[in-house]
Structure formats: C-alpha cells, structure tokens
Symmetry: C2
Subunit: 145 residues, 2 copies
Amino acid sequence: MHDPACPLCQAPGGLPVVQAARFRVIRAEEPGFPAFWRVVWQDHVAEFSDLDAADRALCMDAVARVERAVRDVLSPDKINLAALGNMVPHLHWHVVARWHWDSRFPAPIWAPPRREDDPAQMQALQARLAAADDAIRAALASVQA
Amino acid sequence: MHDPACPLCQAPGGLPVVQAARFRVIRAEEPGFPAFWRVVWQDHVAEFSDLDAADRALCMDAVARVERAVRDVLSPDKINLAALGNMVPHLHWHVVARWHWDSRFPAPIWAPPRREDDPAQMQALQARLAAADDAIRAALASVQA
C-alpha cells in the first residue's frame, strides 16, 4: 500500500535513524523540540486500528523501544506519545521527550507557547541527540529484519 | 500502585464506560470534543514503557478496540490517539474522534481554535454518544475479566 500523493510514502519525513521491514524511525526536525522521533509505518494506512493484531503489536513494541531508549539516554521529565495524522493520514507515532523548561510544558507541544525557548538547555540537548539515536538503533537491532 | 495525590487514582476522571481489572474506559467531558474517550491504566505508572510487554499489549488492545468501536459507530474523519500525561503523570490514552467541522481540524485539539464550534453538528454527535459507549462496552466485553 503506497500513495503517490502522501509525503510519508514519498520521503523519510526526517533524519533516518532505523529502517525496518514494516516501519522506520526518523528524528523529526521540529523547532523548539529537538528530542522528537517518529515511528512511521511503511504501508500507507490511516488508523492504528487498520493494522491487524500482529502488526499493532510490532508497531507498539517499536514505539516502546524508542521511548525506553530516549528515557535511558535523555532522562526527560515526561514522554509524550501521539498518533494524530489529521494532516498526513499515514500512520506515524510521535515520540517526544518533554522537559519542564520547554516552551509549552506542561501543555502539549501543539498548544501556544508559555515561555521562550531556552537556548542553553536546547544546545545541551542537541549535543546528546546522536547518543539517543544510537540507543534507538541498538534497541531496535533485534527487530529490524 | 496508588498515589493519593493523583486525580486519576482518586476518581474515574469522566463518565465510566468500562471497568476492567487492569484499566478503565471513561468518556471525557471536554468542551468542543464530545466524542472523546480515555483508556486509563489502573496502576499509577507514568510512562507507557513502564509497563511490561504483556501489559503494554493489553493496554493497546483496549485502545484499538475503543478506536474500532468509535469508528464503527461514528465514522469520524480521523481518530487521534495520545498518551501525554504532563499534568497528570498517570498513564491514560486519549482516543478522540475528529471531524473536518470541529474547531481545530486539522490541527491537534490542543492547538488554538480555527473556527467556531458547530452547534448543529455537536448536537447530532451528542445524540450518538450513547451508542458509541455501548459499542465500546461490547468490544471490551471479552477482556473485562
């Protein structure tokens, strides 16, 4: 299943981190939220419940492994998970690490900002993203077949 | 695991729809988004990856069943799933039915409004919520033990 009009069928959608048979993990490049990954299902399906039980399990196992790796390396204050897809109805899970100092906390990242970005915190975080990517690759090494 | 300071340990958090051993389903009462359910894990855990593999599977099976029941009864334009918990760090999954006419579509429900609520659409939707609740109960009847 592939839709030539779908941006997630046409391009990775971010920095490639893991390419597995049924899904990929990309690091998103969203302003203000550098610790932001997406688990993108390979097939063009809109809804989580479009997957059968085995694929749902595979998909959420990947999400949990990404979440765990991000927690282990970055120790965020909270992880946010979401599958929305209102604009791009191709199943993808947002995995976003949140901190008390980020511009929206404790509101969702889509809410209006509550404070300015903190350049020092952001720079320190940027320096640790490659280690988080490595941990994600290691966490998914056994399921990339 | 129970936290006396946690609102989701102290109260259902919405209209009770299903009470299972490890989770409950409540209908949220959020202005502008009447077709909004939450799958609330019974134990006080903050993150999805705090659950072991069996509990994660049970949790997401419940989420998928709720999603499927809501789709079958209400035929929304999109389902939005999210586990955020920045304000209440007790694992709960938002299952929100979205329509093109709602106040934020295609933005997330937490974004600023793009248009006024549509009272006629909202009233028509309100009239179908009990049927959606019934479908959710039926979908989870086999896993309520």
